[in-house]
């Protein structure tokens, strides 16, 4: 994966999507939500999963619409029926840090009502300030927010907080973004970080797709100590808490801490039992002793047979066993004979053993106990009752909470170039995708038959500037909407409904009918039924253009009453 480039990862994924037949049921359906462009990350997730032989299909929520996606029961995410959803916060969230715990609480509650799936929410990446004399003032809310998120998730089984801040520190915060990807595509993570994050997400996917591992079966020679006890003797094996062989001692300490967390230990070794047990019980460097092991198989039989016996002695399936052995040959035999056993490749150098096992996440479980899993359901039921009682916060409530103010004003010399830019660049919410050039737009502005309206949007997070445009053309008793577009940054807030109702109000002053046109393109499917939804009637349809009309003497489209509207009339 790491050897691949950004482009190769994306191309492989696109080829996969092209070749995957529609009715293929992916084993695991994953949904991704984020406050930035998460789509390219889907390719990384698919790629990492495919490397592990796991088939995933990935749904990506629209740009920065995570709140709507979680709150609306009919959102694209819920329609995709995910087994697991990820909410990933990108860098630069410091200014929003204070509001995040509440937002996350809302997300968790809404998700519990609408889905039985697992939910993983990232914490926030705290900014690194290596060259300041003291911590940035922003740092405090971010770390407080992250503490709050941990507490929120603790009380909500089925929900996990992904420590993306820790992951970013691990890679180096300098390296988590790629400024070119950010400025060209609002993709806030670098190739290296997306690779790492995909592996992390895969850990959670593994947890929901397979039973957690419960047993760690260990080889002895060159695994728990250096050397071969049967040949070198107990005094010559390499194992010590302070001298040569310390790496094996440290490795054993890590294994001991796994045992303390509930992992059962077993020995699976080709040895003379007397030699081996003598070392285990009497060598001063040993951390683990015979009594730490729940099952012991020290003999000269094949290891796959021994593992089968260990599992049955512990009343577990072989699919709950992890086997560690320094010998690639022994690992290969077990992998082939018992493919359901997890057989990670121990690093070649024993000094890496301790770090290796610390990062081995096979023993994690999504909910810590079965009781936790039941609590998920109890919790969800409770929430359903609560919501019936006090009308759970809806998408409408969310949009209202944003305090959106829309301003509609004629395109002026000042807004001219931004208007032209929107005409050239907007693809998705664009009813006609007519790419008028600057000269054409200038001539519209000076013509009495045209009205050009710029829409700007402000909300509690700031001012998005001019993010919508309409070009109206008056001909006899008709007003034709030549162009109607909104930037994708402001979608999902029902702003288009307020905008069209304002357009209708203006048109009614000069015309009897308002004509709307929809010209289908590869990217504007989402607006195909927009005019219908706004109460227009369809008057003609061809493959290339669908025409709608609204009688302006009748009922005009109602604004959704979710936004403040400021209007400036034509001079």
């Amino acid at each position: 994966m790491t050897e691949l480039t950004y482009g190769q990862v994306q191309r492989n994924y696109r080829d996969h999507l092209k070749n995957a037949s529609v009715d293929t049921k992916a084993t695991i359906r994953v949904a991704l939500q984020s406050n930035f462009t998460i789509d390219p990350f889907a390719a990384y997730l698919w790629s990492v999963a495919a490397d592990e032989g796991v088939d995933v299909s990935v749904y990506c929520g629209p740009y920065d619409q995570y709140a709507q996606e979680f709150l609306a029961p009919d959102s694209g995410m819920y329609a995709s029926k995910p087994h697991i959803s990820f909410m990933i916060f990108g860098p630069g969230m410091e200014s929003r840090a204070e509001s995040i715990p509440d937002a996350v609480n809302t997300i968790i509650n809404a998700f519990a009502i609408n889905s039985d799936a697992a939910l993983v929410i990232s914490n926030l990446i705290s900014p690194s300030t290596p060259f300041r004399l003291s911590r940035s003032a922003d740092k405090i809310p971010v770390s407080l927010t992250n503490d709050a998120l941990d507490i929120i998730a603790q009380n909500k089984p089925g929900v996990r907080i992904l420590d993306i801040d820790g992951l970013a520190s691990f890679l180096g915060k300098e390296r988590i973004t790629d400024h070119k990807l950010h400025y060209l595509g609002k993709i806030d993570f670098s190739h290296a970080f997306m690779t790492l994050l995909a592996k992390k997400c895969m850990t959670y996917i593994r947890l929901i797709s397979s039973a957690p591992r419960k047993v760690l079966a260990l080889d002895l020679d060159n695994t728990l100590w250096g050397g071969i006890v049967g040949e070198d003797g107990i005094d010559s094996i390499s194992l010590s808490d302070s001298r040569a062989g310390q790496e094996f001692h440290d490795f054993q300490k890590e294994i001991k801490s796994l045992q303390e967390r509930g992992v059962l230990l077993a020995i699976c070794s080709k040895n003379n039992p007397e030699d081996a047990l003598n070392a285990i019980n009497n060598h001063p460097g040993m951390v683990l002793r015979e009594s730490d092991f729940s099952a012991i198989r020290i003999n000269w039989r094949n290891k796959d047979e021994n593992i089968r016996e260990i599992a049955s002695e512990l009343n577990l399936g072989t699919d709950s066993v992890v086997f560690l052995d320094d010998s690639p040959v022994e690992r290969g035999i077990v992998k082939t004979a018992l493919p359901e056993v997890a057989v990670p490749d121990l690093p070649g150098d024993p000094v890496l053993y301790a770090t290796f096992i610390k990062h081995l996440d096979l023993f994690e479980s999504f909910s810590n106990t079965e009781e936790d899993a039941n609590r998920v359901k109890m919790y969800a039921d409770q929430k359903k009752r609560d919501s019936a009682k006090n009308g759970f916060s809806s998408v409408e409530d969310y949009i209202r909470s944003l305090n959106i103010t829309l301003s509609v004003s004629p395109v002026s010399d000042k807004s001219f170039s931004r208007a032209c830019q929107l005409i050239m660049k907007t693809n998705q919410f664009n009813l006609t995708t007519r790419r008028h050039n600057e000269n054409a737009v200038k001539s519209f502005m000076s013509s009495p038959d045209y009205e050009l309206l710029a829409l700007s949007v402000q909300d509690s997070f700031g001012d998005s500037g001019i993010t919508g445009l309409a070009i109206l053309r008056y001909e006899s008793d008709k007003c034709v909407i030549d162009t109607l577009l909104l930037s994708c940054r402001i979608l999902g807030r029902r702003i288009e409904e307020t905008f069209i109702s304002e357009i209708a109000r203006r048109a009614a002053a000069k015309a009897s009918f308002l004509t709307g046109e929809y010209i289908p393109t590869r990217k504007n499917e989402q607006v195909s039924s927009f005019y219908e939804r706004m109460g227009f009637s369809n008057t003609s349809s061809t493959d290339n253009i669908v025409t709608y009309e609204l009688d302006l003497s009748g009922k005009l489209p109602d604004p959704p009453n979710l936004h403040m509207l400021k209007v400036e009339e034509h001079k």
């Binding site: 480039t5 950004y6 482009g7 994306q10 191309r11 789509d39 390219p40 400024h179 070119k180 990807l181 400025y183 060209l184 595509g185 993709i187 590869r522 990217k523």
Partner: protein, 74 residues
């Protein structure tokens, strides 16, 4: 035509032959995501760094070819 660039275009957009006027308007696969990949690929292949403001403007085979020539990369 710049052969290295032709190869990149063939690979990226799965083309048999590449025309100098190839652009997002006549290549369906050339969307905003593909554009980012293309810029990164050109940078890696030619060992150059393209500024973001230039990258936004490089919207045809010809424009990229001219850019490479004027920046001494081929």
């Amino acid at each position: 035509m710049n052969e290295n660039l032709v190869e990149i275009f063939k690979r990226m957009f799965k083309l048999e032959e590449v025309k100098a006027d190839a652009s997002p308007d006549n290549l369906e696969a050339w969307d905003s995501y593909a554009h980012i990949e293309l810029i990164l690929e050109v940078e890696a292949s030619f060992g150059i760094s393209i500024s973001t403001s230039d990258a936004v403007e490089l919207t045809s085979f010809k424009k990229i070819e001219d850019y490479l020539a004027s920046h001494g990369a081929c």
